[in-house]
Symmetry: C2
Subunit: 188 residues, 2 copies
């Protein structure tokens, strides 16, 4: 469609040219595509912890974020905790929403679709009989997650749906949640 | 063991009595155990988004955190982004570390083990040929996650290992990452 096509000057703030160049460069040098993402977590008291994110490995070398990001996590007062931060499961929902949203912006830029606003609500259902050990048949995690987008863009409803679908297809966190990942936990 | 047993006054800041009472109450009224956790996400520009966590549903009614928690997510500068927040996948690592850490404190309290310090490092490997669409056989998410705990506690190394193992067994985020969860994404 000419009106939302690549000929129109579209700016969603995503440097698609740089991403396409990176794709070419990493196709030629796949060892540079091996990343390690990290977080550190310090127990404060009770269920309250303080985590930081600062360094990661990628493009063959250690990388540092522009600043250290810090996060408090806790359980709410109805669990007899002090509610000093979002719960760990809410952090996972933030990760999912932000991953899909970044993807929507990148795909829109690549498809020449100007976004005006994008917002999402994410809901994860959980039967806490699992984590409380009441019923062994109830899982500890979410019984399902529902994401709902409101998108205002220079595109048809079908183009907008296709944007969201393509973002899902390339989303790291969507993959982490919908597929199993091996986690090993050790004591030093 | 008497030295680390329940007779000793142990305070990890976790109200285990309240949790055990909650377990009893929810065993009698399992419908109160149905929770919904939520996050809202607003696209800012490029890959930068702003998410908030404030309300959730549980114990049969709407609940509100003591305050609204806010989180910026972005991609780093090496992805031609502005690095205005942690990456979405790092949020998942924060969720995992904080979930396991809260569990360790709760289990330690229940077992009469005094914790002095608990810290964790979490590393998730990722081949970004997946998210860049270079190789369809490479998954988008982590190829594995490694959590390493350093724990100083009034307990034997075996007791500490057992603490960590029990926390894993009851962790919501560990379950979300290691097992598949259905995610539906809709456009309103």
């Amino acid at each position: 469609m000419a009106e939302s096509g690549k000929n129109k000057k579209v700016d969603n703030g995503v440097n698609v040219e740089a991403l396409l160049e990176a794709r070419e460069a990493l196709t030629a040098a796949p060892e540079a595509a091996q990343f390690t993402w990290r977080a550190s977590c310090q127990w404060m008291n009770g269920t309250h912890s303080h985590s930081t994110v600062e360094r990661f490995f990628g493009l063959g070398q250690e990388q540092t974020h522009k600043k250290k990001f810090a996060f408090d996590a806790d359980h709410p007062e109805i669990f007899a905790s002090e509610d000093k931060g979002a719960t760990p499961v809410e952090y996972v929902l933030v990760g999912l929403a932000s991953c899909l949203t970044a993807g929507i912006a990148a795909v829109a830029q690549n498809r020449g679709i100007q976004l005006r606003s994008v917002s999402a609500t994410v809901e994860g259902g959980m039967d806490i009989q699992g984590i409380l050990g009441i019923d062994r048949d109830v899982r500890n995690g979410f019984d399902g997650i529902k994401v709902t987008y409101n998108i205002d863009a220079d595109a048809t409803p079908e183009e907008i749906k296709a944007l969201v679908a393509q973002s899902q297809k390339r989303s790291a966190v969507y993959d982490v949640i919908t597929n199993p990942t091996n986690v090993t936990v050790n004591v030093a």
